[in-house]
Each structure stands twice: as C-alpha cells, then as structure tokens.
C-alpha cells in the first residue's frame, strides 16, 4: 500500500508539470471536438494524432493520446444525447434515455451527468488500476474460447431479459444483429459470406453506419414529417444543472456502472461493449420505476456512461500489465509507446516506474481536465437545440452522411446507413428495440470464433462449456434468466415488466 502511494506520488510529480497539464488539456479539447463529429470516434482521433506524437517524449505522447481518448468518448456521448447519433457502439445505450431527456428539456442535466459519471468512473477505475492491475490481468488471461462464449451469451440474455419489451422480440433483434455480423470474410476459413460480389462487404458491416442509421436516421424519419415539429428549446441556467434528485438518483448507477465496466473492460476483445448494455439493463431492473426508462431516466444515462468510461480504463490493465492490447484503441496507444523503444509488459512497472505511474496519474489528471472543460461547455452544446428543427435535421442528415463516409471512404457504408435508417423506422413502428441489433452486430465475429474454437478444442462436444468454472457460472446466470422469463408462462403470474406496462407482447 505504501509502495503504491509513493509510486503514485512519483506519478503525480510527473503528471502535474505545466507542460504535461497543457498537453492533457489540448488532448481533451481535440478529443471532445473529434468525438462530436459523427463517425469519428476515439480511434480516428488517436490515429490522426499519432504521427504528431513521434517527436514528443513518451510520457507527453501518452498523456496527449489518453486525453484524446477520454475527450472523444465524452464527445460521442454529446451527439448521442443531443441528436440521437451514437458515434460508436459504446454510446448506443446513452442515446436512448439521453435523447429522451433532451426531448423533455433536460439535455443540460443529461450532459452534466454524463460528464460527472465519466469522471467518477474514470477516477474509481484509475484507483482500481493502481492496486489491482497485475492480479486482474492474470484473471483476464484465464478467459479462453468457452468463457468468451459464456460471457457473450450471458450478455445478450441479460440485455434481453432486462430490456423494456418482450424478451422474444429483443432476442429476435439480437439474432438479426448477429446475422448482420455474419456478412464478410469468415476469419477461420477465409470464405466470403453473403457479400454478393460487393467488395466493400468483404470486411463486414461496420458498427458506425448501422448505429447512425438505426438511431440517427430513423429518428429524423420519424420526427421530420410530424405535423407539429419539435419545439425550439431555450434552456435557462437552472435547467442546465442537474437537480438534487437527479444527482441523488445517479450515485448508485455511477458506482455500479464503474465496477461493472472496469471488470468487463479488462477482458481482452470487444467484450467491453457489453458493459454499457448490461449496466443499462441492471439499472432498469433495479429501479423502483422501470417505466421511466426509455422516457428520459437519468439512471439510464449515468449507468451506461460510467460503465463505458470505466471499461475504457479497464482496457488499459492488460495493455500496461501484460503488453496485450484489448482493442484497436489500446493497440494504437501501445504503438505510440513502442515507437519510443518502450516495451509494455510486466517489467514496465519495474524498469520505467515514472512512465507507468506518470501514465496512471495523467489518466486521473485527464479526467479532472475533462470535467473542468466540459461542465461549462454544457451550456454551449445545449444551445444547439435553439436552432429550429427544420434547419437542424437537414444539417444532421448531411453530418450523418459525411461522418459515415469518412470512416472508410466508402459510399457502400452510406447505403448501409440509409438501409438501416429505413429498417429502424419500420422496426420502431412495429415496437422493436433497436439496441440489441447493434450489440449483436458487434459481438457476432467474437461469438462465432469462440463457439467454433470451443467445439474444435473439445472435438465437437458441447460439454466443454460446462466443465470450466467461469463458463459454468455465467451459463447458470443465463439459465436463471431464461427460467425467470418463462415463469409467467408456467405459473400464470405476472412478469415484473407487465407491472410497468411492458408486458410480453411477443
């Protein structure tokens, strides 16, 4: 404990120098602006700035990039809350209640809680990172294909059970998303599936066109043609600040989201995306008034935002402690460190303590800078809503096209976005949740790979999923959820969702 504190002191002595603080600030500003542009997320921001960091010293380089990372994560939440455009999968859940709060004139508190939740989650995760990094990193390595399969199946079932409407309909959407994820080259055999000669589809369908189409475009289709357009909002200062009740209601979701996000975030792969979905589901289930979710519940913003941010920090655990990147963002960050001749891994803490602890401290500093920067900016962002909707939606549509095109310079992605917009519009008319499609799409390659690898490992026996403790535990949880979902059918009792008007429809 004493060792950690003295090391942290060393870290802060590095991170609090004026030049590092200036770079952290610059990184957060650039990240926030890049994150607000649809289609450009943390990865694009970091990749764009990477060459500029080659001439900097490694600590400054990593502080700048970490600032961009956090800033872009927050910037993505801003467009989700104000315009219902998630820039990436992690922001999908934020746009459900965040945008509903905007429609109710509570955009300011939603943005403020997103900033506060991100800060709190970032802080808690940095503390966990300091004390638990080596232990958790070795735990994460115990995840083999069967454990991944169990985790992903459990994630999909948790989301389905805890979502608002019919579990059958939610699972249908998740399966549809998984099917979308089957398009493109099969990683194990090299077969190109369901691409029908369209070369751009060989790489599969990206999450950005799907998320922007399903959420952003479908919303404009539903709203732009209404006989009475949405009213122009002119928020007062009081409306920009979360009320005492809103702050009180957000504490629990922020703490739970932070713990959940951090634990899921350390697992290598795309599993961290589950964290915001599961957090939303848990908050809804725990709420005394689940009917508020989907209609602007602040817990629906606080939980997923915290989980999302904590997962981002958790992802640094295997990167720093073991030198294993958990996703594209950490891979680029790893490259930024390695360019300077530094090899992350178990020896990094011993050989380069000022870099390791300086990085940990700068993550904390980055979170503080982001909070100081963004809370006053809430008022600026909310002013966007003063623009009449008839002027706003054409610009948003153009931004959607521009943002989606920018991801891969592909017109096919724009077609996919428009197709998903139409699909989302119809599915919403028919009462289907759209979030499971996004989750299914992101998890599909990972789920397929882990299922096939598990079966290959066991010689075709499904028993492998029930022979390993971590996998068994997660499948038991999944099984319990299915039983709970079947209970109303067997005992003719009412499902908890029925009590809030969200009874099984399918």
């Amino acid at each position: 404990m004493e060792g950690v504190l003295s090391n942290l002191l060393l870290g802060f002595s590095v991170a609090l120098t004026p030049s590092i603080l200036a770079y952290a600030f610059a990184g957060c500003v650039i990240g926030t602006l890049v994150g607000m542009l649809p289609g450009l997320g943390p990865l694009a921001g970091i990749s764009l700035l990477l060459p500029a960091t080659f001439g900097l010293n490694p600590i400054i380089a990593i502080v700048l990039l970490a600032g961009v990372y956090y800033g872009a994560m927050y910037g993505g939440s801003t467009t989700s809350i104000l315009m219902r455009i998630p820039g990436e999968a992690a922001s999908v859940m934020t746009c459900i209640d965040g945008y509903a709060m905007t429609q109710r004139g509570r955009a300011g508190p939603a943005l403020a809680i997103a900033a506060i939740g991100s800060f709190a989650a970032g802080t808690l995760s940095v503390i966990a990172l300091m004390f638990l990094a080596p232990t958790l990193a070795s735990f994460a390595l115990r995840f083999g294909p069967p454990e991944y399969t169990a985790l992903l199946v459990m994630g999909l079932l948790v989301l389905s059970y805890m979502s608002g409407g019919s579990m059958v309909k939610t699972l249908t959407m998740a399966v549809a998303g998984l099917l979308f994820g089957m398009i493109g080259i099969d990683a194990m055999s090299g077969y190109t599936r369901f691409s029908y000669g369209v070369i751009e589809l060989s790489d599969g369908i990206g999450i950005v066109p799907v998320a922007v189409g399903l959420f952003g475009v479908s919303e404009i289709m539903l709203t732009a043609g209404q006989p009475t357009p949405p009213p122009v909002q002119k928020p007062t200062l009081r409306q920009l600040v979360p009320s005492r009740d809103e702050l009180r209601m957000s504490v629990g979701p922020i703490v739970r989201g932070s713990v959940l996000g951090f634990l899921i975030g350390i697992i290598p792969g795309s599993a961290h995306i589950i964290s915001s979905f599961v957090s939303y589901g848990i908050e809804r289930r725990m709420s005394a008034h689940p009917e508020r979710f989907g209609n602007g519940a602040i817990e629906g913003v606080a939980g997923p935002e915290s989980a999302n941010n904590a997962a981002a920090t958790g992802a640094f655990v295997p990167m720093l402690a073991l030198g294993i990147p958990t996703g594209p963002v950490t891979a680029v960050m790893l490259a930024a460190i390695m360019v300077h001749g530094i090899l992350p891994g178990p020896m990094l803490i011993v050989e380069q303590p000022e870099l390791f602890w300086g990085f940990v401290a700068s993550m904390y500093v980055g979170n503080v800078v982001l909070l100081i920067l963004n809370l006053p900016l809430v008022g600026v962002f909310v002013n966007l809503l003063r623009i009449p909707y008839s002027y706003l939606y054409p610009a948003i549509l153009c931004f959607c096209i521009l943002g989606v095109y920018s991801v891969a310079s592909s017109v096919v992605d724009v077609w996919i976005m428009l197709g998903m917009g139409g699909l989302g519009y119809i599915l919403r008319k028919f009462g289907y949740d759209l979030a499971p499609i996004a989750l299914g799409l992101v998890l599909a390659p990972m789920l397929e790979l882990s299922v096939r690898q598990s079966l290959a490992m066991s010689g075709g026996s499904f028993e492998i999923f029930f022979q390993r403790p971590i996998a068994v535990t997660m499948f038991v949880v999944a099984g319990v959820l299915i039983l709970l979902a079947l209970r109303p059918l067997v005992f003719k009792s009412k499902d908890w969702r029925a009590e809030v008007g969200l009874d099984e429809q399918g």
Partner: protein, 158 residues
Amino acid sequence: MSETSVTGAPRRLHIDRISGAVFVVIALLVAWENRAYPLGTLSEPGPGYMPLGLAIALGAFGLLIVLRGGASPLFDTIDWTEGRRAIVLLIACGVAAFALGHLGYRLTTIALLVFMLGVIERKRPLVTLLMAFGFAFISYFVFATLLKVQLPQGPWGL
C-alpha cells in the same frame, strides 16, 4: 389492411403476426442462401455452421412472435402521418449517396441541402443558399483539410 378468413369475414392483421412472419421468411432465405457455405462437422464447424444456427433461431423466434401475436395492436392502428416525408428524405439521401462519387462532396451536399431546406421545408432562398454553401465548405475544410479525411472530388475540383 385485412385478410379474409375461411368464413369470408375480413380478419384484421396484428403487427406482431406480420413482423413475425417476415422474420420467418428472412430466416428461410438466409438458410437457403447459406447452402453455398460448408457446414463442416461439430468438431470442425465450417463457415455455414453459425449462420444456419442463427437462421434457425430467427425462424423459431419469428414463429413464436406469430403465435403469440394475437394480443398485439392491429396494423391499422399504426400512425403513418410522417411516412411520405420520411420516404422522400430517404430517397433524397439515396440520390445524394449515388451522386457523391460523381459530383463530389461539396456539390452533392449543396444540392441535398437546397432540396431539403428549399423544396421540403420551403425556407427563403437566400437562407437556404447561405446554409447550403456554408455547411458544404466549412465541413469540407474541417474534415478534408484539417482532419485529412479523403472526401470525393467532383468537377472543377469541387
């Protein structure tokens, strides 16, 4: 939207029955298309293994939705007030996507914004043109010049 029952009386369609049936049809189509990919064996699943499993799941869920869809709202009750404009917007964006490669980013964006603001929303011509040109050129500057995103060029380098 109604169908005729065996007795000849019109029978109303429920939204879940329609959507569930569509999912069953999609599942059958996916399973049919999946014939092109080897299923492999249980110990060595092929590229067709997972899509077939998912198609079966989609079909099963679709069937469940159809069977339990009697309690869902009727198709007639869906409000399509905004439907026409929604379709027009989607088609306009589709045309813009097609034009992007031929006219370039700036000209396409100007045309799309002029259509949406001037034709659909009937804003004043000056405001429409100012917004269309302003948006196209400023966004091009931010994305193409500052962020080095490759945006398509049209005639005259626009």
